[in-house]
């Protein structure tokens, strides 16, 4: 699992000088962002309307067929599983769960990061100490074993459990960044200006402070989503997910346990991993591009020669 997914280390102070409408334009003008966005869009379509992508013949991803371990063919584009299920159909239908895990866990972790990081920075004093400590404890706890313990505790590796576990273990990295950024904002004059104006603390945190951190929050979300995709796949691959669910990690688990690779069925073994990788890549590309968009210093330069 690559841990180093979340954003740049130095949040750019210029980050916030961007109008909202400009974001889409910026994405459209950034090749990496475009590629990432297109990939993500494709996955969203797959998740929303899987049936459109699966020809009527073998549409039910779970249906047990009588032709197990088939090689890819016109009928089964990516072959069949050990139970004779159509791999391609499974791949398409699995998008939904994998995407849900990524998005929900990403949102959840980001939400926690923001709440805890920003509160710590804004409240200061003992509250800051306590919250920072909590963050640090979660950071140094070995994540994966914790996940295993939690997943085991929850008894059943169903979707909710995995998502909750990913959120619980995924927020701390972001919270630290949030806190750092919020600290740098804390004494910015526009916040004091709001205070002098007579605004309440809660209003200042939520309405004045958070929007200026948008780019970091988005970067954080993308990083957390990437982390969630990869970790969830790892968990399911280890058999800690629900083996009856339809998701890429589960497909890999089955492929591994039914010996897809060693039995010469690479399409079955590799395609779910590739899907995970592509979803991951789309998040990583967006994240990377987002850095460029929010920090003009990182934008690619056209080299021009004087004279």
């Amino acid at each position: 699992m690559s841990a180093i997914v979340a954003g740049t280390a130095a949040p750019a102070p210029t980050a916030a000088r961007r109008p909202r409408g400009g974001l889409w334009r910026a994405i459209l003008h950034n090749r990496k962002a475009m590629l990432g966005a297109v990939l993500l869009l494709l996955f969203i379509l797959l998740a929303a309307f899987p049936h459109l992508f699966v020809p009527w013949l073998h549409g039910d991803p779970r249906a047990i067929g009588d032709l197990p371990l088939e090689h890819p063919s016109g009928k089964h584009w990516l072959g069949t599983t050990g139970l004779g299920q159509d791999v391609y159909a499974q791949l398409v239908y699995s998008t939904r769960e994998s995407l849900i895990i990524a998005v929900v866990a990403g949102l959840g972790a980001t939400f926690l990061s923001v709440i805890i990081g920003v509160s710590a920075a804004y409240l200061g004093g003992y509250a800051d100490n306590a919250l920072s400590m909590l963050t640090d404890v979660f950071l140094v706890l070995p994540t994966f074993p914790l996940i295993i313990v939690l997943a085991t505790y929850a008894g059943k590796g169903n979707l909710t459990v995995i998502v909750v576990v990913l959120i619980l273990t995924g927020w701390s990295y972001g919270a630290r960044q949030m806190r750092a950024q919020a600290l740098s904002l804390r004494n910015r004059d526009f916040l004091e200006s709001a205070r002098v104006r007579g605004e309440r603390q809660s209003y200042i945190i939520v309405v004045e402070m958070l929007p200026t951190m948008t780019s970091l929050i988005v970067a954080n979300f993308l990083g957390a989503a990437l982390y969630a995709v990869l970790t969830a796949a790892g968990l399911q691959f280890l058999g800690l997910g629900d083996p009856n669910s339809l998701s890429w990690g589960t497909m890999l688990y089955w492929a591994q346990n039914q010996g897809a690779l060693v039995n010469g069925l690479p399409a079955w073994a590799l395609s779910p991993g590739l899907a995970v990788a592509l979803l991951g890549v789309s998040f990583a590309l967006l994240n990377y591009a987002f850095d460029e968009i929010s920090n003009p210093a990182l934008r690619p330069v056209r080299r021009r020669r004087a004279k």
């Binding site: 200006s193 002098v196 007579g198 200026t212």
Partner: protein, 347 residues
């Protein structure tokens, strides 16, 4: 700067009391946590009085505590000790949200840095509209918009209907600074705390804002606490001038009197350092390095004694207090004398 409706004071509760007054206002900061906490005396025993329709300039070295005073008055910081009286009423007694809102409405602050004092995520009208909503809740949405346009035009930004929907980064520094003033005006204030409102601006824009302040005082009856490094601009707008050094007010008096006849050696030094193209080059080389003082756990004595050319023994043991040395002219110096300026600067 047109169309500012003439400001009428809704008769304050205590008519004789000054608009705002501080008594022994003190603010200390803790520096260095843990084993050896130290106290930084940012502001010590400061007495300031500002009357209605008065512009008071506060000048002094960087780090001398000017902003801290403004923030204390604005309620961003709470005083370590001492009290602020607004129209005769102690600010610390204003506990309820209503009282506090009312005070904040009367005493807005304009921040030093036009680049960081507007929230980059919102249109520039955001702060103005919020102020109107908080301090004039009776207005409807359209009325608020109209009022916002009015104050934006009042600070000389036209066309307001266009400017107010821009984002801060779409405005120049001078325009932003004016938005800051407009935001303060939206409160229908009695006193605007202006913390170095022009220091970041080009000379060409700077004077426009100073003129605006004078205009607001005249037409809307607003008082100002004008904080600056720039003595010349203080002279341009202010009625009275306060000179601060290391957390103390060291000299105060009518602007012209202080400039013409500085009593405190620091004031003298400061005035001598102001470059002036209209005056011939006076190369009076001071051996002074101009290092700003940090007042950490001070001992009694004059805080300027280390740099003072006139230092006497007494300066090392007794903290000088403000003494009346002329018509409304006070200085905190053991050696300053009441009559004619004793350290003549001009040959």
């Amino acid at each position: 700067m047109t169309d500012v409706s003439v400001y009428t004071d809704p008769q304050a509760a205590v008519p004789t009391a000054p608009l705002i007054e501080t008594r022994k206002l003190t603010r200390h900061f803790r520096v260095g946590r843990g084993l050896s906490p130290k106290m930084l005396h940012a502001v010590d025993d400061v007495d300031i009085t500002i009357d209605r329709q008065e512009i008071v300039a506060l000048a002094g070295e960087s780090g001398s505590g000017k902003s801290t005073i403004a923030r204390l008055l604005a309620g961003v910081y709470t005083p370590t000790s001492g009290e602020i009286y607004f129209q005769g009423r102690a600010v610390s007694s204003m506990r309820s949200r209503r009282d506090q809102l009312a005070y904040r409405g009367d005493v807005p602050m304009v921040f030093q840095d036009p680049f960081s004092s507007l929230n980059p995520a919102f249109r520039v009208s955001h702060g103005i509209l919020r102020s109107l909503k908080l301090h004039q809740p009776e207005l409807t949405r359209t009325q608020r918009n109209e009022e916002a346009e009015r104050v934006i035009e009042a600070v000389g930004l036209a066309p307001a209907s266009d400017l107010m929907y821009r984002y801060p980064y779409e405005l120049s520094g001078g325009q932003r600074q004016r938005i800051g003033f407009a935001q303060a005006l939206a409160h229908k204030p009695k006193l605007i705390l202006a913390d170095e409102p022009v220091s970041m601006l080009d000379v060409s824009i700077r004077i426009g804002l100073l003129n605006l302040m004078a205009e607001l005082r005249r037409s809307a009856g607003v008082s100002f606490l004008y904080i600056t490094h720039d003595i010349a601009s203080a002279r341009y707008v202010a009625d009275r001038l306060l000179i601060m050094y290391a957390g103390h007010i060291v000299e105060s008096g009518p602007t012209e009197a202080v400039l013409a006849n500085p009593k405190h050696p620091y004031t003298d030094l400061l005035l001598g350092a102001v470059p002036d193209p209209r005056a011939p080059l006076s190369v009076a080389v001071e051996g002074d390095t101009g290092e700003p003082p940090k007042v950490i756990d001070p001992t009694p004595g004059c805080r300027f004694r280390w740099r003072c050319p006139l230092v006497v023994d007494e300066c090392h043991h007794v903290t000088p207090t403000l003494r009346l040395l002329g018509d409304g002219h006070e200085a905190a110096c053991h050696v300053a004398e009441p009559d004619a300026g004793m350290h003549a600067t001009k040959p």
